[in-house]
């Protein structure tokens, strides 16, 4: 617990990833900044992470524009199978009755 302010690279980069979504706590940010003072590798990771977040964001914007649909043919196929299941079920129910 004495090392509350000194965290490992694994922990630091976890906080760094969390902060990319603005979900790291204030205390975590302090831990992270302190870690950067002694660790250039994680500082580099953080810089690259900002770049990657922008890349992911641009993919997110692309994706959210699309609305994909099941083709008519595939829908007909599902309908057919559903119909079949329905008749099987009703057959079974009749037998029970």
């Amino acid at each position: 617990m004495a090392n509350k302010f000194f965290i490992s690279c694994d922990e630091a980069t976890t906080i760094c990833d969390k902060s990319q979504y603005k979900e790291a706590s204030f205390f975590e940010i302090i831990q992270l900044k302190l870690h950067f003072l002694v660790c250039k590798v994680c500082a580099l990771y953080s810089k690259q992470n900002n770049f990657l977040s922008k890349l992911y964001k641009s993919k997110a914007t692309n994706c959210n524009k699309e609305s994909i649909c099941i083709s008519v043919k595939e829908k007909e196929e599902i309908k057919k199978q559903l119909e079949q299941l329905k008749s099987e079920l009703s057959l079974r129910n009749n037998l029970v009755l």
Partner: protein
């Protein structure tokens, strides 16, 4: 005044709900065929348990709740498959170096990580490739959080995981992706 009772009309399910359910599924599992299968299974399960429908929720809400179960089942299945697409660790897991970067996975300087390259189509294809290389559960959680932009709380609720669990997966996915993009894009 009595509350409105909802009734199921299975004959119209495919026309009325399949696109909605499909988009719901694909946002979470990012695989066309699998999403389609889950929608189909949802209709089947719905038909089989139609007699348990109490009419309190709308037909669509009820079908979505079945689909959500199917998605959790799928997540549990991929979560329990051992050895499939082994995760490469980026940090030592034990010993004196626990929590430190593994030498060959230490981030290297990128010379062309400029704002311009974000719009580069090839880089985007590279990203798709790298996401496809992730173990499925990491890809699923990463995509839900980062690409589909779901709230942390919502993902945790839907997949029945804790938030620390989620952050570990996001962290592993992102360190993997960083390394994959570095190897395939920046090292050329």
């Amino acid at each position: 005044m009595a509350e409105q009772q909802h009734i199921l009309y299975p004959d119209f399910w495919v026309d009325k709900h399949s696109d909605y359910l499909f988009n719901f599924a694909i946002a979470r599992i990012n695989n066309y065929d699998l999403a389609k299968d889950l929608v189909q299974e949802t209709f089947f399960a719905g038909l089989k348990s139609a007699k348990n429908f109490e009419g309190k929720a709308s037909e669509r809400t009820w079908l979505v709740s079945i689909l959500k179960r199917k998605i959790i089942d799928h997540y549990r299945k991929i979560n329990s498959i051992k050895g499939q697409a082994e995760v490469k660790m980026n940090f030592y897991e034990n010993g004196d170096n626990e929590g430190s970067w593994i030498e060959e996975r230490v981030p290297q300087s990128w010379d062309n990580d400029t704002e311009k390259s974000i719009e580069n189509e090839e880089l985007k294809q590279q990203l798709d490739y790298c996401i496809s290389k992730l173990p499925e559960k990491y890809a699923m959680v990463f995509t839900m959080k980062t690409i589909q932009e779901f709230e942390t709380e919502e993902i945790c609720k839907e997949l029945e995981i804790t938030s620390s669990n989620l952050w570990v997966m996001i962290h592993r996915a992102r360190t993997q992706l960083r390394k994959c993009i570095e190897d395939n894009w920046f090292k050329k």
